[in-house]
Symmetry: C3
Subunit: 326 residues, 3 copies
Amino acid sequence: MPKILHNNPQLNKNGELQHLLSIEGLPKSIVNHILDTASSFVGISDREVKKVPLMRGKSVFNLFFENSTRTRTTFEIAAKRLSADVINLNIQASSASKGESLLDTIDNLSAMHADMFVVRHAQSGAPYLIAKHLVETGQSHVHVVNAGDGRHAHPTQGLLDMYTIRHYKKDFTNLRVAIVGDILHSRVARSDIHALTTLGVPEVRAIGPHTLLPGGLAEMGVQTYTNMDEGLKDVDVIIMLRLQNERMSGALLPSAQEYFKSYGLTPERLALAKPDAIVMHPGPMNRGVEIDSAVADGSQAVILPQVTFGIAVRMAVMSILAGGRA
Amino acid sequence: MPKILHNNPQLNKNGELQHLLSIEGLPKSIVNHILDTASSFVGISDREVKKVPLMRGKSVFNLFFENSTRTRTTFEIAAKRLSADVINLNIQASSASKGESLLDTIDNLSAMHADMFVVRHAQSGAPYLIAKHLVETGQSHVHVVNAGDGRHAHPTQGLLDMYTIRHYKKDFTNLRVAIVGDILHSRVARSDIHALTTLGVPEVRAIGPHTLLPGGLAEMGVQTYTNMDEGLKDVDVIIMLRLQNERMSGALLPSAQEYFKSYGLTPERLALAKPDAIVMHPGPMNRGVEIDSAVADGSQAVILPQVTFGIAVRMAVMSILAGGRA
Amino acid sequence: MPKILHNNPQLNKNGELQHLLSIEGLPKSIVNHILDTASSFVGISDREVKKVPLMRGKSVFNLFFENSTRTRTTFEIAAKRLSADVINLNIQASSASKGESLLDTIDNLSAMHADMFVVRHAQSGAPYLIAKHLVETGQSHVHVVNAGDGRHAHPTQGLLDMYTIRHYKKDFTNLRVAIVGDILHSRVARSDIHALTTLGVPEVRAIGPHTLLPGGLAEMGVQTYTNMDEGLKDVDVIIMLRLQNERMSGALLPSAQEYFKSYGLTPERLALAKPDAIVMHPGPMNRGVEIDSAVADGSQAVILPQVTFGIAVRMAVMSILAGGRA
């Protein structure tokens, strides 16, 4: 997992959230503020009129240098429920192909009086680069939200996972949490580990084959297991990771069937965890690869509530950044 | 033409419209209610401010598994004029390619508190499958509108065609209506036939080459003609169908020129119908293939009013489903 | 540079702006009215709520037959800040591929009660053709804005360039303006030349290699220079043009490096102009090809203010056309 920047530009001089780039380096008080604010938004989506005017007249740009309809959609919905104007830009097809540099594109959009950039990029660190540039050039009215950068971070996914755990388990300080699968390539895993540590979870486990467990987990306070049955024993929360299709045919893994045999979450394996353990997944799921349908659709799965909470968490992040706190 | 489901899930227990999937099985009272509601929306598009707040804060997802800019645009406009938030999802490029199942995608979007799915799919029955799933899993707050599924149905096109006929002819019960062209592959033809029958049109004719006339028309009460001149004799309404480009080069037809010679609507042929007959076409037209420009641009063509009425009809369907009746 | 139409359909019978197709033939009074109106919009983008209700309920269609995310975005933002509903249509992927004619597409969208078409097309004259058709068929409620057609015109770029010059130089009647680069293929150059002439700029210079200087410049009152140092001498305004990538590998130019040596704007060359000269560029820039980074990021560059003013100018054009003057 790459280190990005030692100077964390996501807080302003007063220690307030200026950009959301990574959960690493985010104070616990800010994480809790986001979760509390999200909580006030959860009810809004159930109302007849699901909109609040907190970002009326603000312009949110979804800058997706890497295609992800699902994530883009969650940000688009969150922004529209805050009454913002949303502009979707698929940058692959655009100026990038005309040879314009990333920062020239950013300066241009910023000159159109953008208020927020939601950035997805295949390159780790791209949102940092953008945030740093905005800070250095005095464009502090524009905020950056990292919507996933390379293998580095996916902070809103980490935050919605924390919201979900808090919703079902109330207290973080007595939990045993297992993250299962391709930890090595997962920005979700990285964001979750930082969030769980920040919030005081005493035991975080990473479960997966040797080839998909990165170095450095021990230094982050994470216990590693290559045997899934041992790793799941008595855990309160199981976070399954998506096995990327490209891994299945690669040299790191034998086959999808083999993987399921060793690391697929079946009802039998789930029974090893605590009886009230919850099962999470960032989606989209590969049924029959990392998770059995009986578990995915079972009573312990909270995968769809994660999606619902995800909208509220993104509304919270955006409204806090825009200064319109709930 | 495939049969889809015997249990029609488009009505709720109280017999109210829950989903719009097909005109087949839709009670006449509901068809008339949609047309009456549309009538109240026709004037809105002429006003200075074309919006009504009936769907303010509602989220409409255009789920287009098959590309159709024109149809997507009509739904997008209709939803925006009702003040809904619209999210366009081109699913080919999205999760489908990540191997997620259709119903997992639906569950995910539904968990984002979608209010309505407008679904276009190359597979006949896909909107049924989605609606059935939503009903079975207790997600009855989400409504499905079929925007065209395979060769099966295109109910809003059928309804806007009925609106157009009613507008110009007032009474359905004394009409002779001819549908001309590739009946075999046309979901428009199928929807129109069901609608015309439901509304009491006494004589429906299908005109086309043997190879493009499906079996079963007689059972539906439709008279078939392979000779266009005979088929057009004394009709009140002519519904021309688009000849799909892929048919022109196929084995079913000789050539576009040959087709025009036998089934193209020319001024001479139009003269065989009643003097006040109207000419309809669902668009986009192939001028010189199924219709002569002199007819398309002539005084009997009501092809552009169809488009205008289409917006009102879609506003009616959406607002009725969302419970915000006009 | 192609001549398009002798009958300029962009003014209605009362001499008011009906369509914005080209700066050629636009009276000075209308140019000034647009610039004055834009001036009232510049402040809006700085406000907390950046929206005004001038186009509430109006439907603006971005019809991009040629891809340009950047230009489309500026019009989308401008329309949304005027509270219009915006529909983005990428027509390559749509009906055009189904063989529908341009004017049939226009009639269809117009029948959906469009209020405005923002048209980008690779073919010179396409927006004229559309405007002419709308006028001839009595659809005078729909307005056309040319967002760039072939090599012909890009009038909103010309207008925002004039806004920028007026902002920094106040008076047009004592200026020396140089346009540098590929004049031959540039619709920006053409629009700028017409605007500068209309506004009374006494000296307009075109600088570039022989192969990229079109004939007819002298007749337009433009002085030509193939030596950049001579051309820049004592000018007040330098408008750099983007060198299209396709030119760099073509027969008209040796190489990007050679081009930069002869026509790249370096600090040394900039020093030949007046000390308070401003440097403009329509973007996206090719740093190191037509412009040195030291100049692009230097104190004389007004390239980002151009972008900001561009939003206000587009808001002005749209609101004037829609009849909702500020």
